[in-house]
Symmetry: C2
Subunit: 254 residues, 2 copies
């Protein structure tokens, strides 16, 4: 049985809480947040507190907090016996190193308030000052997911950067696609099978091998026709830059 105190009440904290609650081997002993209002979801399920001095003893103190408050909250936990671990992709282990035992428990996924996620599919990126603590985090991850990776702070930063490209920026390209459809009375659902196939393809092939489209074919007449169709300057700029980037990446003549 792993006892833990969860600090935070946002999307990550809420989703983790649900996943922990589903495991018999994990007990969430307490949830902390500085504001009582944000604790509404947890109140009837588990003891809550708004005071750091009121935290109970636990094996792990999990900081599912905003990046910029993690170091200062960790500082106030420097004397707890348990392992202090944060869930951020961008904060280093060093940033909480004042804690005797420090670690990272970063679920690499995009969490939305009202959408359930399948935890079994979520990779956890783990790191700890001490090898025993790394094992403890592996056990915690193992209870809710089949996938855990040992990832250093340096690697985690790069992984978080990659995630911005493959998730946040990709989602914006979806938004542009949807906008073009809306402006032309085309149901966006027509594009969804293509979107899914594009995402699924790369689980068996490298994206580099399956690049298609006018840019890699250097099909100037389609590229020029597309640029004429684009009404927004930003989208035109994005089209030009990504076309150029694809051609450079694949060594095409410009």
């Amino acid at each position: 049985m792993i006892n833990l105190v969860l600090l935070g009440s946002g999307n990550v904290a809420t989703h983790l809480y649900k996943a922990f609650s589903a495991s018999k081997e994990i007990q969430v002993k307490q949830v902390y947040n500085h504001s009582a209002e944000s604790l509404g979801f947890f109140e009837n399920k588990t003891p809550v507190t708004t005071s750091l001095s009121g935290l109970v003893e636990a094996d792990i103190y999990l900081l599912a907090l905003k990046d910029d408050v993690i170091p200062e909250i960790a500082k106030q936990l420097q004397n707890v016996k348990g392992l202090v671990a944060h869930t951020s992709g961008a904060v280093s282990l060093e940033a909480i190193s004042e804690c005797k035992r420090a670690g990272v428990f970063y679920p690499l996924q995009t969490f939305s308030k009202n959408k359930e996620v399948n935890y079994k599919e979520i990779p956890f990126c783990l790191e700890a000052k001490d090898s025993k603590d790394l094992e403890l985090l592996k056990s915690l991850a193992g209870e809710i997911s089949g996938k855990a990776y040992e990832i250093s702070s340096e690697q985690r930063k790069k992984l978080h950067l990659s995630a911005v490209f493959v998730c946040n920026f990709v989602n914006h390209l979806y938004s542009i696609g949807e906008q073009i459809c809306k402006d032309n009375d085309i149901p966006f659902e027509i594009l969804q099978p293509l979107i899914k196939e594009t995402a699924e393809k790369i689980s068996t092939s490298s994206p580099v091998e399956v690049q298609t489209g006018p840019a890699i074919r250097n099909d100037r007449s389609t590229i020029n026709a597309h640029l004429k169709l684009l009404t927004s300057e930003e989208n035109k700029e994005i089209y030009q830059l990504l076309t150029k980037a694809i051609q450079l990446f694949h060594g095409k003549k410009l």
Copy 2:
């Protein structure tokens, strides 16, 4: 029973051939390509020809050819009795209007040589000069897919443009993500659940509603840290432009 002659031997022609062959209501009577070598896949399965004058009679002549040869091949088919339809996203119906009966049968999907596709999931975008021919194309699509849409040439151009954003450009962002992982000894598979979730999320929510990441939060410290981590000038430019675009799109202060 719908009889058809398939013109072309590339990815689209090959995938369509397989899908047609699986239906009892469709008979591929002949496959044409100007080069005999490219017909290898079809040779033992169906009659083939390299001569347009050797084409047999059929209900539909399906031009699964490169965009730039479609008009000239269609011109040579202007006297056939059957319906001449092309499979291109970018070529208008007008471009083959010299044919007595002309139509478009555009499968909106990305086809790779060695990856099977689930045709049931592929939307077909249909258009025809004559309403009876539109019905014929609907029957053809209905035999292999559950999804058919009537889409005008103008709309199809815009749809093809959207597809470049949500498929080709998205795939390049995957390539950048993979490259960053490789350069830092991180297995790219860690990112795949995130990639899938990002793609699946938008079948139930508009991408505009589920945009996440440092750009929309206007999290300058993460944005600056990411820009410092990027070693390639192109990727830096893409990061900056897409960050700016997300902020403009969502009305954030820059």
